[in-house]
Amino acid sequence: MRAVHRIAPLIASLAVAGSALGADGAARVFVVNQDAATVSVIDTGADEVVASIPVAFAPAGIVASGDGTKLYVTHPERGEVSVIDAETRQVDRMLAVGGTPFGIAIGGDGVLFTSDWNADTVRAIDPVSGKLLRTVKVGHSPAGIVATPGGALIVVANRASDSVSILNAGSLSLVATLPVGRAPFALAVAPDATRVYVVNVQSATLSVISTESLQTVASVAVGHMPYGVATTIDGARLLVASQSSGSVTMLDSYDLRVLSTEKVGRFPEGVAVDPQGRKAYVANWFSGDVSVVDTNTGKELKRIATGGGARMLAVVRRKDQRSSKALGAPAEGPQP
């Protein structure tokens, strides 16, 4: 508890800087296509695929570095992480991290955090050497993992334990373990870092966790089989992808009222939000495409073919905007 109190002021000051971000130019969305073993790059200005990067077998999670120059992609079946150069759009190198790295998040200092599905651990990994820095036991089958803005806390969804573990990013010590709904999978952090949202696949609920009180403060019913969640940049709205109904439900972040439920592609999973705050991108696993959703109306604007098994996304701002990217990045964390 004490550790969190000390961390809180730091998060607050970073969050203020985050809200002052400029909003010119189009960001890029990097989409992991698991079956196709590619990462598609979508230009959010034209909403078109501008590149397709071949990667190793069965990529799963993705996260962008704080400065937006690199993307890290997990390969759970190979025990590796691909490091992609955002500029050249090529795989720079592979980090042989071992195990079954699944979800991936990045701390404020660039350290990578992976959830290891089979080992029931979270690992801190050096982003350059791939060396294991620290490891901690969490619940069973840890899936989605996110860092709070500024990277002070790491939160992981333990799918087979119906809980989330909250970790201190620096020491990787366990701050709290909280019960949530059945089969928690994906997570998103509020831009001000006060709340973490978790979607529970089997109970079809969204749990709200307070990072201040370290308690589950609310739970609300969403569409069946929720596999992805994101908040808008201003934190006012939540988008939840419901896999079985092929829809995205938009909720008010504060009173958790459902604002809309609109159809997208088939078996949607990961959700990411355009830094300009007007559009969301939803990866549709079965149909192998990405739905562009208007975050005002909740309606699908366009569907972009990317590749088989589109599951996870990460957003990178244009070069001239990258100085503040770290603040927005973790919210698009992996949703394996």
Partner: protein
């Protein structure tokens, strides 16, 4: 003489140990569809009762449902290899669509550790129907070195055979005079 025994024992351990994990990181997809010379309403009428799948599916020897066609309804289906319990997640009479999932893995019945499946009827050519049955599934052994009978290929093959046999049975029933 002792050596072969030791090897057999360790192989058994290797095969059994990873089954503790309910899911794996790489889901697989199987999609089967069939054209049926009967109107969609008739075909949907045959398949619509979640608990009564044994009425039309020759691969299902027996089925017992609870909760009707409401969300969270369940059914226990008996295959030649044993029983599986499935739970209904989404049901739409209007869209002639249902989505359900395996409630608890039983890889000796079907070599798949978990699945979600969707059965949907849409209008086909000449007043007929097209029925699509698809599944998102994980192999039986979700560790990184699955045995050949518990890998992705085995899971896909088994699911494909199951869905395809069901659809053929449905076609035969719907087209019967």
């Amino acid at each position: 003489m002792r050596l072969p025994h030791l090897i057999v024992t360790s192989l058994c351990f290797l095969t059994l140990a990873p089954l503790a994990h309910a899911h794996g990181p790489t889901p697989q997809k199987v999609e089967e569809s069939i054209d049926i010379a009967a109107p969609p309403e008739k075909v949907w009428g045959i398949v619509k009762d979640f608990g009564n799948i044994a009425d039309w599916n020759p691969a299902v020897l027996k089925s017992v449902g609870t909760g009707g066609n409401e969300n969270n309804a369940t059914r226990t289906i008996t295959l030649k290899t044993g029983d599986l319990v499935e739970g209904l997640d989404y049901y739409s009479e209007k869209e002639m669509d249902m989505l359900y999932r395996l409630s608890k893995e039983k890889v000796d019945v079907l070599p798949v550790s978990s699945y979600t499946a969707e059965l949907k009827v849409v209008p086909g050519d000449g007043g007929g129907s097209k029925v699509t049955w698809l599944a998102r599934l994980y192999r039986a052994d979700t560790g990184n070195e699955p045995a050949p009978d518990k890998n992705d290929a085995a899971a896909i093959k088994a699911m494909k055979a199951f869905l395809s046999e069901g659809l053929k049975g449905l076609k035969a029933k719907a087209e019967a005079k």
